[in-house]
Assembly symmetry: C2
Homo-oligomer: 220 residues x 2
DNA sequence: CGCAGGGTGCGTACGGCGTTCGCACCGACC
DNA sequence: GGTCGGTGCGAACGCCGTACGCACCCTGCG
């Protein structure tokens, strides 16, 4: 897993040497996997899912669409890679003391929501088909979150459903928010409901779920 | 709503009368809004979201793609209409006695999940962008469900977030299920987790949310 | 120093998509 | 019988994802 970890600067044009001079055209410096992911992320964040096409993605880095296929199997893989990239922004506390689980899960849920609202296209990916295969970042976050429930004391048969309850709520709630957000963004007008109220409503549901899970845990 | 209920056979060439004889081609019998919705539903249920194109939809009823635009503004409207059509399958109990709210909400949640699993493409619509405008069926169901929370005794400021909590969970959980389901269906192999276990896991999360909401209600 | 060979960019092309436009035709109404 | 609104549709436009093969460059070897 995790092929290359270069990643320093995806745009740096092989800086200094005058080179032999590119004969035919401005030869692209690299066009690597990492650069493709960075460019795709730029397009997605700027204009959403429908703005991501292989042609535009190539254009974003001054290359032709078909060149991308040397580095990536297809559009699906690009989306998988970008999704895993932004999953690196997630913050899931480590499972230390059993007593901290509620606060830790709450923070994780808010972190997932915040990431999705920063990158509203994530909702389309998560809500629609879900990732076919989990990337390393997403996998790591899932395992960390599951550990939270396990060390909290949930029996083996309940840890997974409990985690799924929280994640499903966050994904469902945030998908709706992101859709509404990008719709108002497209139509230009200002938000209908202020941010503070949306935050509050989200937290209301999350706390009710945690209440239910906590009660269940106490009864064992 | 529900313009005409002909529908007998979308290919039948206006059976009995010799007619004057269709001069140029086999003239289609009607091609109405209701027929378009029915044909779209057939395609979607059979082969999922990616199988719905205006050309295939036309072909399904023996017509050209462009003919559809006489009855429908575009593909988006087709999807809106079909979504609202299946929302007619939802069962949301009426808000009678305040004490029945938990059972009623639970039934509503299961009904939404069952409908979505019967029509897995619904998850793509709900999870991705959500309906831009609510159709009459969806609107009616939303109002009925909100009434459930209001008569249960939730204060005005909490009824909406409480409902959203339940609906968000159901949508999020079911999207994941539907995606996994259609993925295994496409790849041909049998289901990885048996139906009974999936039902159980879904109900676990739903009951925890209801526990949390019930506790909140009791504290007021 | 020359040359083979693999990696890489890209032009072309194919099939499909949503949608627009103008023409041809039908039934109904005056 | 003539007109006129409604309707189906062929052609076309500009997108899309992707397969294929050619041209080029860099590298490593003799």
């Amino acid at each position: 897993m995790s092929a290359d970890e270069q990643h320093h600067d995806p745009v740096a044009p092989a800086v200094a040497p005058a080179w032999t001079g590119p004969r035919r055209k401005e030869r692209q410096p690299a066009l690597s996997r990492a650069q493709i992911v960075a460019a795709a992320l730029r397009l997605l964040d700027a204009d959403g899912m429908e703005a991501l096409s292989m042609r535009k993605l190539g254009g974003e880095m001054g290359a032709a669409a078909t060149s991308l296929y040397r580095h990536v199997t297809g559009k699906d893989e690009v989306i998988e890679l970008v999704l895993d990239e932004v999953c690196g922004e997630l913050v899931v506390p480590a499972a230390d003391a059993p007593g901290d689980w509620r606060e830790a899960v709450s923070r994780s849920g808010h972190s997932l929501r915040a990431m999705t609202l920063r990158h509203p296209w994530v909702a389309s990916v998560l809500g629609q088909a879900g990732p076919a295969r989990f990337g390393p970042n997403l996998l790591r976050m899932s395992e960390r979150m599951l550990a939270l429930f396990q060390t909290a004391g949930f029996p083996a048969s309940e840890a997974v459903p409990a985690m799924r309850a929280v994640v499903s709520y966050v994904v469902g709630a945030t998908s709706g928010e992101a859709a509404q957000l990008s719709r108002t963004a497209r139509s230009g007008q200002s938000e209908r409901s202020p941010r503070a109220l949306r935050d509050e409503n989200f937290d209301y549901g999350l706390q009710r779920i945690l209440d239910g899970l906590q009660a269940r845990l106490a009864r064992a």
